[in-house]
Subunit: 511 residues, 2 copies
Amino acid sequence: MTQHSRIQCPKLLDKVMSAEQAAALIPEGATVGMSGFTGSGAPKEVPQALAARIEHSVAQGHPFRINLWTGASTGPEIDGALAKANGIQMRLPYQSDPIGRQRINEGAMDYMDVHLSHVAQYAWFGFFGKLDVAVIEVAGILPDGSLIPSTSVGNNKTWLDLADLVILEVNERQPIGLAGMHDVYYGTQLPPNRVPIQITHTQDRIGEQYLRCDPNKVIAVVQTNKPDRNSPFKPVDDKARRIAGHLIEFFQHEVKRGRLPANLLPLQSGVGNIANAVMGALTDGPFENLTAFTEVMQDGMLGMLRSGKLKNVSCTGFSLSPEGEREFVDNLDFYRDKIVIRPQEISNHPELIRRLGVIAMNAMIEADIYGNVNSTHVYGSAIMNGIGGSGDFARNAYLAIFMANASAKGGELSCIVPAVSHVDHTEHDVHILVTDEGLADLRGLSPKQRAKVIIANCAAPEFKDELQDYYDRALHHSYGKHTPMLPGEALSWHERAMRTGSMHAKHKETV
Amino acid sequence: MTQHSRIQCPKLLDKVMSAEQAAALIPEGATVGMSGFTGSGAPKEVPQALAARIEHSVAQGHPFRINLWTGASTGPEIDGALAKANGIQMRLPYQSDPIGRQRINEGAMDYMDVHLSHVAQYAWFGFFGKLDVAVIEVAGILPDGSLIPSTSVGNNKTWLDLADLVILEVNERQPIGLAGMHDVYYGTQLPPNRVPIQITHTQDRIGEQYLRCDPNKVIAVVQTNKPDRNSPFKPVDDKARRIAGHLIEFFQHEVKRGRLPANLLPLQSGVGNIANAVMGALTDGPFENLTAFTEVMQDGMLGMLRSGKLKNVSCTGFSLSPEGEREFVDNLDFYRDKIVIRPQEISNHPELIRRLGVIAMNAMIEADIYGNVNSTHVYGSAIMNGIGGSGDFARNAYLAIFMANASAKGGELSCIVPAVSHVDHTEHDVHILVTDEGLADLRGLSPKQRAKVIIANCAAPEFKDELQDYYDRALHHSYGKHTPMLPGEALSWHERAMRTGSMHAKHKETV
């Protein structure tokens, strides 16, 4: 199959040009909506060409910047290149690129952290201002101008609908066999005209296979042939395996108590080392006929589908290692009818997450002794990646589970703290905390009861005494004894760690 | 109409007894689900008789306690009497009684603060443990044993379905004309068997007019004749009027910009002085054909219905002043077809709030310069009332609005602080802050942009300089500059206020 055969609309074939020519059509200061979700399906060449254009312009004493909206994180070709050129004014709704993160945390770039299910509707409501240009990677263009989506759908439907101008990247590297895996729902409306979303099972299809696109808005078509940002698979370590073990044991207990069906409920899982360990444990575990209603399809879920433990997956994009990508592409016929890729406003929709009763498993940076969770900030001020879909899932989940190693940096930093330095998930939204030390079941507990079980089950041994000491003194001296707190000391662990590198009170400060 | 004519089921007529006799049937240590939502529709006599029984038992050296679940807050006959007797072990999901609050904050009673839309499903899931007894106020009992609900529905359906034993209070004081106003949805299921909730307009009816009740579970029927806790109407003050004025101006602006329809979108409003001021301003304001999808129907909304500005209200209960109650009862035929009273899992359902595009207006205790909101805690440790439905509404609203006076205690306490002492609504969930000083529109803004507009528009003049000083120093010294924060100082305003009575740094400490 040649590149041109992927562009079957004659009108759009006339718009084929180089990435540089396309990037030159983006107005200075424009707000640009790009495709891309955790590195999958992001445009590969136009953003880099735009970054080069910005760098050239800066060199000539004429800097300019764009506002950049995406699905979630992208690849170094977008966030890396544009942040390096200092070409982004406002970024939303999620990012994970090291250079982009640095720009934000040095104060050179504005970033707005948004629940991923909220992004499309806020754009439609006009809350973010006007969208000028959409830059969307697709796997192909059909004769009528409609688009075969790439490895993620994300907010592409919304960007294509809202933008005045559209630039398409047709990536020959993406398998044409993706066609038919997507389910693009066109039934969203603005209030007061919204109707129920008629999904009752993870694999239900309610939309169209292709993205609609008005050919008259398309100003450029760029041909590319590049892989997604497929990050290498980080091997699962012992701590992650212990976390997964605690979780499997908990699920078995819940099934036995009649609080979960034998095939559990639809799974949502973040990405990373711990998530892969959990998927691995489920692949080897006792549960059959599992389903997933999640944001991203990662290696671990491919393995579960392969093993037959997992029946099907609903997602908005892939996040695969190079080996995972190979496995997927080589066995596309096996996977095709088991995976449905949806817009992120549907994959993360509160209505659907609550209806389906999703088991939400997400990583955290830290939790406090009352069950508040920080997913986004280091020391309260530096953004890590963003809240992503964790809030969509946790708030509406059947079970909201957050996971992390109990300690970090050789035991100098505790994942369990007196008070988190930033709250992303409140005490009302967290059911289960898991660390390599153990699992705390917070359901039905008051704050003081939670503190007891979190310190006992989840805290690292080297921090248990200090946490207990804080809690005991808080209980004694606190203004109120509902959620014992010493405001003058609650964030001292973070303050100390910033200063000394350790949250421990004693040995570091006396060195 | 006589009391007995309200009990038309012969089998249940046989169960009529005194409140004392009924209270004696509640097992020691039982978990009891009572009716009641913001004081409306709560049982009036059995709880008091139970409290007397507990006090008597304590006097004989045999203390015992119950766990108490309700819809939301109740009246002094429940929370006051039982807390006074020290008869509550665990309370959920919301309370506002002064004695109950004192018990919790002195550490003598456990309290779990739960999103009101989550309560029924968590009970069904088994997350709270077993429900032993339901004590439910009704307006009447039909021949087949089904129940005419009282002035609130709350969690009554769930308590009646789940409890082993049922005690009914038939309150002759509640108008029998309430019959037909309720819409009790029986289509809820446990995952994975849930289906869409087919409501697309505020007044849609999808359920039944009466509560189902298995007569075999009913162990007692008690006849009462007492009013709801109808708190007197607090007159609207100038600050509340200014807040309402800012809000009306904002709505007008949004309509003009095309971001709101001319008749706005369904309104949700908390109760209290500010809420009544807003309802008053809407009654006198330029908007017609308004609707409401809210928790409680308060005096302000009666006035809006009366004026014709408001077409209809969906709620789960009333919260009226004595005058409001009189107005409602005297004109029941006018109000009947304009009000629908639903279970709180429906009135507060995320699916419906997002679908309908609700404008959520709730009071707060404090907000920080980045838009995090504290709705529940004083100085981070003492519970006020609870989160109630504010999280259900804010997270899923078209517009999430939080309101408070800019300062309190004669200018010694600021509603805008460097960091809130407890987070109930995160920076991701708050669109608009309003104080008597002005309105901050946070949509589409990064944390630093938010700080600028919150300090400029919402902070009290006497705190602006101190907030700006903190922010400037945080921006300079912060570990990261995404959300500038000084962990060692962020909660110092609360620490100082606890110590000196003032959040101001200077004049109080040097006295």
